[in-house]
């Protein structure tokens, strides 16, 4: 895999985008990161926000599971609701807590469970991570305003 320097990818149809408007920010964030959770209250209010996965598992061992859960929720149209939920309550991040969150969001639990463990989900998360590495991300949240 080539991880040499490259600008962040253009916002595409596979990105997780919330809001509309010209003022867009792309944020590389770690769902296990307390700094990201602290910044989320402000970031989530941006007119148009693009969320990209940047889990640093060595620092936050549950991050891969949290990002996979967000992706699996996204497959059922509730990506940002899961992100909001995870950042709002960082003390409950074990599997039973993820199932509980999925239920509260009205997700099909069986599908959620299968998709969060799927290799395609892991690869989707890794794709964002690698684009962040190539863009020189060294910590989270890393915010890129784009016009």
């Amino acid at each position: 895999m080539d991880l040499s320097s490259a600008p962040i990818p253009l916002v595409g149809p596979d990105d997780h985008v919330r809001g509309t408007g010209d003022a867009t920010v792309v944020v590389y964030a770690d769902l296990g990161c307390p700094h990201c959770a602290g910044a989320w209250a402000e970031l989530r209010e941006r007119p148009r926000l693009v969320f990209r996965h940047f889990p640093v598992a060595s620092k936050h061992p549950r991050s891969p599971a949290l990002h996979a859960a967000a992706e699996a929720a996204g497959a059922q149209g509730r990506f940002f609701e899961m992100v909001d939920s995870l950042y709002a309550d960082r003390g409950r991040i074990d599997d039973p807590h993820l199932w509980e969150r999925a239920e509260l969001l009205g997700l099909d639990l069986e599908r959620f469970e299968a998709e969060r463990r799927a290799e395609a989900t892991r690869m989707r998360v890794r794709r964002d991570f690698e684009s962040g590495i190539r863009a020189g991300v060294t910590g989270t949240p890393a915010v890129f305003p784009i016009s």
């Binding site: 895999m1 080539d2 991880l3 040499s4 320097s5 490259a6 640093v56 598992a57 060595s58 620092k59 061992p61 991570f129 590495i133 190539r134 863009a135 020189g136 991300v137 060294t138 910590g139």
Partner: protein
């Protein structure tokens, strides 16, 4: 800093498990020496964590990462465990900073290694170096891959 093209000075230091590790042990392989100020500092933690995350991609390019700081082996062990990484961490502890000084990676004002990277080729020659503008900054992993691609 040590110059590209120079023969990398050999050294023997103890790792986080108390085992002797020499540069000569890496003969025939590429090794990236990551000189960093100190275990447990926030920037050093971020740096070693990020580099750990791209370890498979670095291994694909035949590069092994080794961290070096003035910390003692027990601090290295605790730091390694805290970060959840398996990167070899070498103790440049006594004489303090001797290896960092040999590589021109010493930050005299603070008495610790400057934040520098030294890529050593399979034949023990310095292939690339990087020195952070300040010890409080570290280069993204992309910079390492840029060097490997050039």
């Amino acid at each position: 800093m040590i110059a590209v093209g120079e023969k990398a000075p050999n050294f023997t230091l103890r790792d986080q498990d108390g085992e002797d590790v020499s540069l000569a042990d890496y003969s025939g392989r590429k090794v990236l020496l990551v000189f960093y100020p100190m275990d447990f500092s926030s920037v050093c933690s971020e740096q070693l964590s990020i580099y750990h995350e791209v370890k498979p991609e670095l291994a694909d390019k035949g590069v092994e990462v080794v961290g070096i700081s003035v910390d003692q082996i027990h601090a290295h062990k605790a730091f390694q465990e805290k970060l959840g990484i398996d990167t070899t961490l070498l103790a440049d502890f006594e004489p303090k900073g001797e290896v960092a000084k040999a590589y021109g990676s010493w930050f005299e004002p603070a008495g610790f290694a400057n934040r520098t990277l030294v890529l050593i080729d399979e034949d023990g020659t310095v292939a690339w170096t990087y020195e952070s503008p300040t010890p409080g900054e570290f280069p993204g992993a992309n910079v390492i891959f840029d060097a490997l691609a050039s």
